[in-house]
């Protein structure tokens, strides 16, 4: 059986960054396994601008961001296996994959980095009533058809869900000559980045219907009409508020979920709040030698943070390959009032190499909030932040010495500041 120092599963933005960082830090025997016929993952279809501000200090398109990493991967001699699908991983770090040339192959790794990406919630997950015609797509699926395969998916479009992909696709379909009738969002606020509301909807006069959802789909072969209703506080449709749109296409941008069936089947502990593996400060999972990063760990809004966390996961793997796992009981980072989740979800307070950065999301939009981090009754950090929204991931850095006295779980809380 072929043995590797490290195997990275997935050659998207996270996998490329992780693989490159491993090579740059003296781990020579690295393999990246990618199921598609090219690396870059979802970046290849994200042809819009806005990537790279943190990583490269300029804004670029998704393919351009990917290309920079491909060039670097070539420079460091990263070994990448394309058209290869990992079918199983095991706690002893054996990995099974299949491809056309080699058939069914089992390999062994000292460290495994899961960079497996995420998938889209679809119509079935929402249980939208109505007929079952063609013309209902997830937004990312339509994005792939249009931007990689070069097919227009429809001419008269409505979009359910105001996540970033939905907003980006609203603009994209308008640019290609389609008419976008509107975007419905079941929540009282959008789940997209503020700049995408501006440059994708407002620039093109596309209406955003907050507190609305699609309640029926009509059409025999192809979508002909949809029904949109206002919802009450319990997100239940209100009778008598129905609106009808004669469209041929409905795009769904209703959430992304980390693709974790491989890790789940191997017995890696999942954090139900992020639907990805629970990781420590080195991005190591509950089973030693497994690391996770990218959208397969938790869904990101910025690829720059995917890169950053993948690099940290790779450095975590380098540390593990040289020193083994930390011999210390981890303490939990607990999301308290107002906080949806934190990554990492646990830390080893006495094994932090210089710094640890927590990424977190808040539960609901707040114009101003005080973020408090506590260990028991002791306040470790308190800071005021403005314009917090769940769609924007926040970050907080601690020096290792600031956590030296931590002797139990630490809790993150967000309290809204209301000015009169």
């Amino acid at each position: 059986m072929r043995k590797y120092s490290a195997v990275v599963i997935g050659g998207g933005s996270a996998g490329l960054a992780a693989g490159i960082t491993l090579k740059e830090n003296g781990i020579d025997d690295v393999l990246v396994i990618e199921k598609d016929d090219m690396v870059g993952g979802i970046l290849n279809q994200c042809i819009h601008n806005g990537f790279g501000l943190h990583t490269f200090h300029e804004q670029m398109s998704g393919p351009a961001y990917a290309e920079r990493f491909m060039i670097r991967a070539e420079e460091v001699g990263l070994d990448i296996k394309l058209n290869s699908m990992v079918t199983h991983i095991h706690p002893d770090r054996t990995i099974e994959y299949v491809n056309r040339d080699e058939g069914y192959v089992t390999i062994q790794a000292d460290a495994v980095i899961l960079a497996v990406g995420c998938y889209e919630r679809n119509r079935g997950a929402l249980a939208i009533p109505g007929q079952r015609p063609a013309g209902v797509f997830t937004a990312g699926q339509a994005q792939r058809y249009l931007n990689i395969d070069g097919y227009m998916v429809g001419r008269k479009v409505f979009i359910l869900g105001s996540g970033d992909i939905g907003l980006i696709m609203a603009r994209r379909m308008m640019l290609e000559g389609a008419k976008v009738y509107g975007v419905a969002e079941i929540m009282p606020y959008s789940n997209g980045l503020p700049r995408n509301i501006k440059q994708c909807l407002e620039d093109f006069d596309i209406p955003l219907y907050l507190n609305h959802t699609v309640t029926n789909i009509y059409g025999k072969d192809r979508v002909e009409r949809i029904e949109v209703s206002k919802v009450d506080e319990k997100m239940q449709p209100i009778k008598g508020t129905e609106m009808y749109f004669d469209v041929d296409t409905l795009l769904l941008s209703v959430g992304l979920i980390p693709e974790n069936h491989l890790g789940d089947a191997a017995g890696i502990e999942m954090d139900p709040r992020i639907k990805g593996p629970s990781v420590d400060e080195n991005y190591m999972c509950s089973i030693d030698g497994f690391f996770a990063c990218g959208n397969g760990l938790h869904v990101h809004d910025l690829v720059d943070y995917v890169t950053l966390q993948a690099q940290r996961a790779a450095l975590g793997a380098v540390h593990y390959l040289k020193n083994g796992p930390a011999e210390e009981k981890a303490v939990k980072a607990v999301p308290g009032n107002g906080i949806l989740y934190t990554v990492p979800a646990r830390i080893h307070p006495h094994h932090i190499d210089k710094t640890v950065e927590f990424f977190y999301r808040i539960r609901k939009p707040m114009d101003e909030a005080v973020i408090t981090v506590k260990c028991g009754d002791r306040v470790l950090r308190r800071q005021t932040k403005k314009y917090l929204v769940p769609s924007v991931m926040e970050r907080m850095m601690f020096a290792g010495r600031q956590l030296e006295d931590v002797d139990g779980d630490i809790t993150f809380e967000a309290e809204e500041v209301i000015h009169d």
């Binding site: 290849n44 042809i47 819009h48 601008n49 806005g50 501000l53 804004q59 670029m60 398109s61 998704g62 393919p63 351009a64 990917a66 290309e67 060039i71 249009l146 931007n147 990689i148 395969d149 070069g150 640019l175 290609e176 000559g177 980045l193 503020p194 700049r195 509301i197 501006k198 440059q199 407002e202 620039d203 809004d301 910025l302 314009y387 924007v392």
Partner: protein, 123 residues
């Protein structure tokens, strides 16, 4: 008469909410931005909104059907429909190199349309 506009900055993902006060085409005040990018954005947005335009063009002799492209600088938002008419009818032959110029000086804006990635030729 003083006119107050609320803008969302598109300069970075933070999306600062900027308030701009104007009177007869003159900017009186800009507030809410947290960096220089925001101030420049607000000044420009008040007079003539500018945007980066990204799309795809058809590509021949290539395993893929389309090439992603972007303007290499911002163009006026109001010219985007006109720009798309040109981009939609453009065909390029593979191989294509990264950041290769596909359309030079788009509509006299001074912006070039460039390839967002490299693409190989067929075989």
């Amino acid at each position: 008469m003083t006119e107050t506009k609320q803008l969302t900055c598109v300069g970075c993902p933070a999306g600062c909410r900027i308030t701009i006060e104007m009177e007869g085409g003159e900017i009186l005040s800009i507030a809410g931005n947290t960096c220089d990018v925001g101030e420049q954005y607000a000044r420009q947005e008040a007079i003539m909104p500018m945007r980066i335009l990204t799309s795809t063009v058809k590509v021949t002799d290539c395993p893929y059907r389309v090439l992603p492209v972007t303007t290499d600088r911002e163009i006026p938002l109001k010219m985007i429909d006109q720009a798309m008419e040109i981009i939609r009818t453009t065909v390029v032959k593979a191989p294509v190199s990264f950041e290769q110029v596909i359309i030079e000086n788009l509509l006299d804006t001074g912006a070039n349309v460039i390839a967002s990635r490299s693409l190989p030729a067929l075989h």
